[in-house]
């Protein structure tokens, strides 16, 4: 589904040139659960941003469902982000002073489906992260774990092909982190492709495959042999 060949990304800050990705190549198939791991500055976030259509590569091939990013204009990128991708961020990035319902609805206000259908999808998504009792609460009235679950509901409300999770447990206690990983594993079971960016080996081992990055290059690309399963009984 995702095809990457010799991908490069350079940033220019005045005269200083920083290489974030230095010739990366790999493929991702539908239904995979991939963890990208590496120390900070290794290029993992840059890689995720390119795969998430938030940024464009300097050179190399990036194809999503056989379509190269260079063929697409900004509005088409927005359309793909809206319809095929879902994002979960380390700092949740919920709209403050806005209800759980409206936060989850956010991606849908940029689509053209009916208001009834939107409502149904939002309620379904909130239910699947176990927050139905919190629908009318404001985002800032929730705990960190709950906020991240709202963020996941927001990521899945448009039923995306791929879910990107950028350090989703990085800002949570271990129990809440476990719950989040359990939800992500559940979503993967349901057929969503999940791409996880993390710097923790432990969290990465909950994925099915791990790509290790260092200094913008792939160090290793392996299938996880003893996969860890998060279990708390929360995910329905």
């Amino acid at each position: 589904m995702i095809e990457i060949q010799d991908l490069r990304k350079e940033y220019c800050d005045g005269d200083v040139k920083t290489v974030a990705l230095d010739g990366v190549s790999f493929n991702i198939n539908k239904g995979e659960f991939l963890a990208i791991i590496g120390p900070s500055g290794s290029g993992k976030s840059t890689l995720m941003h390119i795969m998430g259509f938030l940024d464009r590569p300097s050179s190399g091939v990036f194809k999503f469902e056989n379509q190269g990013i260079e063929e697409l204009n900004d509005d088409q990128l927005a359309f793909i982000r809206n319809n095929k991708l879902g994002f979960v961020f380390q700092f949740f990035n919920l709209l403050p002073r806005t209800t759980v319902f409206d936060n989850v609805k956010l991606p849908l206000i940029y689509t053209k489906i009916s208001e009834e259908e939107k409502k149904k999808r939002v309620l379904d998504a909130i239910e699947s992260v176990g927050l139905s009792h919190r629908i009318k609460h404001l985002s800032n009235q929730l705990s960190g774990g709950e906020q991240q679950r709202v963020a996941i509901a927001r990521a899945i409300v448009n039923n995306p092909e791929v879910i990107f999770a950028d350090e989703p447990t990085g800002n949570l206690d271990s129990k809440s982190g476990q719950q989040i990983m359990e939800i992500l594993q559940g979503l993967n079971e349901k057929g969503h492709t999940v791409i996880l960016v993390t710097h923790e080996q432990y969290t990465a081992e909950m994925a099915k495959r791990i790509i290790k990055l260092k200094d913008g290059q792939i160090v290793s690309d392996e299938i996880v042999k003893e996969r860890k399963i998060a279990k708390n009984g929360l995910y329905k």
């Binding site: 941003h49 998430g52 938030l54 940024d55 900004d74 509005d75 927005a78 359309f79 982000r81 809206n82 319809n83 994002f87 961020f89 990035n93 709209l95 002073r97 806005t98 956010l106 991606p107 206000i109 940029y110 689509t111 927001r154 448009n158």
Partner: protein, 415 residues
């Protein structure tokens, strides 16, 4: 993104920053409010003046010396020196069968004194018909009579206020006052005429026209001819006929009726009303455009606060882009937000301006003792909301563009 969603978002944002929203709107509120006040009061003044002009008799035609061409200021200068109208012109016009009566007038300034009491006044040289045409009634004593005019009598009729100023409690009838060294016997005092905007009949001294011309001023011309037509229907006919008569009298060859060639002006009350409308209209436009500066200042305030808002909400913009908002969606959202701010300010300013004008119209009515009409000009309504919306769009567009152009990653990283 639907329009409804955008409106909802903008109201949430405005509510979140209540104080800031109100302060930002204040510029627009003051701007729209003052434009409304200017336009409403201007309209009120116009209605009042037109009403008064109409009440003075729509059958009247007013003839002045001087060419109708040129600017108003030029005409004022002209008028001082124009000597083209004579009493015999009035006699010629009076022969028109459609004319009911004709009176002549001359006016000048001087000092009136009685027992060492001096007062600057305007005196009017009138004939016996002028007072009736101008609707002036005698309170005590008598009017200027035909005999006064033909006999060049040294008599004077005082306006109500002038009588009060010179004589106080004393009865002026039979006393002698001096104007420009000429002794005149007071034969009458007029009833109080009350508040008129441009004319204060109560301050004038009325003297027979012949006395004024020969003894006071030493001239043979007159300043105005007042013609009363038999009915409103024949007024245009009378006016045109008066022009023809005057051209013949003055030896002006003007078969094509080019008014600029004439050395006189013929104005009906309708013309006078039109002129007043023009003047008040220009005045209103002038004052309104000054008030409009407040709107521009308000608009700059809007732009400023929207720029702050874009910076503050950089992360939100990044998030919206990440979940699929196009540049256009972000731009619309911020434009709708700034327009909501200005429109809300417009509504409040409109209501405030209208309330102020309403109260002002009551107070002015009481002070001037006239029926000052409260008016909401339709143009003001359109202007208030149109301008408010335009200010929102124009001053919102730069911040909105800035928001739309943000790179989603940079925006998401923003702390």
């Amino acid at each position: 993104m639907s329009f409804k969603d955008s409106i909802k978002i903008s109201f949430i944002t405005l509510r979140t920053n209540k104080m800031r929203s109100v302060l930002t709107m204040l510029g627009i509120i003051i701007g729209v409010g003052s434009v409304i006040i200017m336009m409403s009061l201007g309209q009120g003044a116009q209605n009042l003046i037109i009403g008064q002009v109409a009440s003075m008799g729509s059958n009247n035609i007013y003839i002045e010396p001087g060419s109708p061409a040129g600017s108003i200021s030029q005409q004022v200068i002209d008028q001082q020196g124009k000597v083209s109208l004579k009493a015999k012109d009035a006699e010629a016009i009076a022969k028109d069968p459609n004319v009911e009566s004709v009176s002549v007038m001359i006016y000048g300034n001087g000092v009136a004194s009685y027992l060492g009491e001096d007062k600057k006044i305007t005196f009017m040289g009138v004939d016996e018909k002028a007072m009736a045409i101008s609707d002036l009634l005698v309170m005590s004593g008598r009017e200027i009579t035909e005999d006064d005019v033909s006999g060049m009598a040294r008599v004077v009729v005082l306006g109500y206020k002038l009588g009060q100023d010179l004589f106080g409690e004393e009865d002026p009838i039979g006393k002698t006052i001096r104007i420009k060294k000429l002794s005149l016997k007071v034969v009458g005092v007029l009833e109080e005429k009350g508040g008129q905007i441009f004319q204060t009949f109560d301050d004038y001294a009325y003297i027979p026209i012949t006395t004024t011309q020969k003894l006071l001023m030493g001239v043979d011309y007159i300043n105005a001819i007042l013609v009363k037509a038999k009915s409103e229907k024949v007024i245009d006919q009378v006016a045109e006929n008066a022009r023809l008569i005057l051209r013949e009298q003055h030896g002006i060859y003007n078969p094509e009726g080019d008014l600029t060639k004439d050395d006189f002006k013929v104005m009906s009350q309708v013309d006078a009303a039109n002129m007043v409308t023009q003047i008040t209209g220009a005045l209103t436009a002038f004052l309104s455009s000054i008030a409009a500066i407040a709107l521009i200042v308000g608009g700059i305030g809007i732009m400023n606060i929207m720029l702050v808002s874009v910076t503050e909400r950089t992360k939100e913009i990044g998030l919206r882009k990440a979940v699929g908002a196009r540049n256009k969606d972000i731009m619309n959202q911020f434009l709708i937000e700034s327009t909501t701010l200005t429109l809300l300010g417009g509504i409040i300013g409109f209501l405030g301006g209208i309330s102020f004008s309403f109260i002002a119209s009551i107070i002015i009515g009481k002070l001037l003792q006239t029926s000052w009409g409260f008016a909401i000009p339709f143009g003001a309504v359109v202007l208030a909301f149109g301008v408010a919306a335009i200010v929102g769009l124009v001053f919102g567009i730069y911040p909105a563009k800035k928001a739309a152009k943000l790179n989603p990653i940079e925006a998401l990283r923003h702390e």
